[in-house]
Symmetry: C2
Subunit: 321 residues, 2 copies
């Protein structure tokens, strides 16, 4: 069943007033563009986004039969998110869950499961984010109406091929980045808009979890209200630059970083021509796709340069905690 | 005009359907408990929270005459937040602003200004957070009704004296912390629930901005989905532990940190007897007050041990950017 039909079935017989996105770590981050889209465009819908155990232990009062819960877990076994689906179902919410693992524990209490791919290609890694956004677009359009619905659908149809093309162009830059950053004791990551949580997950997952590199992350708009005092010559930053509404925030941060000789690597959606592939009316929401795809290549090259595979763990998959 | 009368005047002649919190840096963080309270308790109200320039450059579609915007800036001159008030007013929203500086640029486009204290005492530093929460409680109670309204009002009446008492007991622990952490190359800060953005602002403002110490921050519930792989013997962490709903998330993180011999300092609301001062029905929302008050003492001691005053800056107040 596709996103449109799922939402149509739910909306057809229920008065939907709230949408909650629930996940952990990278999966939480991948739900953010959908949350950001609804937060910025919904006229009436309540929209929220939780790490799963906060949803479980401090369950929001409005959870109920007027709620759609969209949850995600790559392997479908994250215990906190499995529990969230169960709590959501107990409250009578409509649960749509995203996972690569059909029949996994995550799917037990879900009313609808969307199975996405992951390892097959760079664009396959974007499907979780893409399905979440597609669901958000369908919810908004079917519940309230959405002026740029055709532009979003067109963008969703084009974005995967666009990203697969983008990654083909970056190997040289990614290798240069890896050489420059391989001995960095810590790396900061920032972005804005719909890409804010790509910065978050690149920091806590790709850097801290998968490379054991110290890292912090923040919103480009917040940079000037605290974090920028850490800037000195050669302090390492990664800046994800967006096309669209929040570009001036990213550009202002870049100007500052360059002025004080920070070590800065930018991944810029404009360099890949994002707005030639998707309409300017909706370009904001597609930045996280191209940035996620391209930064994966950078992370892979960093892993090679550091001889530290992205799959290496101290604790995860190894012990109970 | 007090919070109750302000909200009563707005709600008396308008159908309020959304509340937006807008600020930068520490001021953004201090609005979070109010946002968290509404997010977890509102049945119908839309609730959102923006760094000011994201609000300005990617203005949400629902901003209008049914919106209350609550903004904050300590000195009342933060250009981004001043601009937010102006945008909010242009859209017909009801603007309530919090500042210590009566007559500052921030107040020009505000329909209501609440002047708070700051430097007078540890509890005075909490007034911005307190007024924001009080406004949120009044909005919820007057628009939808709120079962624990009397408990919240009682808590708001008690919390300032409670925090002034709490800070009197921590000097010895704060000095010990400062000695232990003064040479740390980086410090991680985490918490959960309403205190999540106290961890955020402690990391980006107190550590990065005011001490030039590398720092990262995350939600205790997210710790196990990425950041925990950085844990080794002696990696420095600060954990803010909450009383109430999300305590199990903080406690689980503590158990892990101790198991692997991280260098961990906990500030625990339970140690100060928070739930003896405020009702258990609403204790969740008062954790950020006691943690903010107490951690200020820790930061002050760290500044002394490092001979780096909290007011020292490289860039802020010194140049245009």
């Amino acid at each position: 069943m596709n996103s449109k039909d799922i939402i149509s079935e739910i909306v057809g017989s229920n008065d939907i007033t709230s949408v909650m996105f629930v996940g952990c770590g990278a999966s939480k981050g991948e739900l953010y563009p959908a949350k950001y889209f609804l937060d910025h465009n919904a006229k009436n819908l309540q929209v929220s986004h939780y790490t799963a155990n906060e949803f479980n232990f401090a369950t929001p009062a409005n959870l109920g039969s007027s709620t759609i819960v969209i949850s995600a877990s790559l392997g479908g076994t994250t215990p906190e998110t499995v529990k969230s689906n169960s709590i959501a179902k107990e409250h009578g919410a409509h649960v749509i869950t995203l996972t690569r693992a059909e029949g996994s524990p995550l799917t037990v209490d879900a009313d609808y499961t969307i199975v996405h791919r992951f390892a097959e290609s760079y664009s396959a890694k974007l499907e979780k984010m893409g399905y979440a956004l597609e669901l958000a677009v369908e919810i908004l359009n079917q519940v309230e109406g959405y002026e740029y619905y055709p532009d979003m659908i067109d963008g969703l149809n084009r974005i995967y091929d666009f990203c697969d093309d983008a990654v083909k162009t970056v190997e040289k830059d990614a290798k240069y980045f890896a050489e420059q950053y391989k001995d960095a004791p810590g790396i900061y990551v920032m972005s804005s808009g719909a890409t804010a949580e790509v910065a978050y997950s690149s920091s806590v997952c790709l850097m801290m979890e998968m490379q054991w590199i110290n890292s912090g992350n923040f919103h480009s708009g917040e940079f000037f209200h605290g974090p920028f005092e850490i800037v000195e010559k050669d302090v390492p930053f990664i800046l994800f630059m967006n096309e669209g509404s929040t570009r001036p925030l990213d550009a202002r941060a870049l100007t500052f970083l360059q002025r004080f000789d920070a070590k800065v690597t930018t991944l810029d959606a404009l360099d890949f021509g994002l707005s030639s592939a998707v309409k300017k009316t909706v370009v904001d929401y597609f930045n996280p796709f191209v940035i996620t795809a391209v930064f994966r290549v950078y992370a892979e090259q960093l892993a090679i340069a550091r001889q530290h595979p992205l799959t290496k763990r101290r604790y995860m998959w190894k012990l109970e905690y």
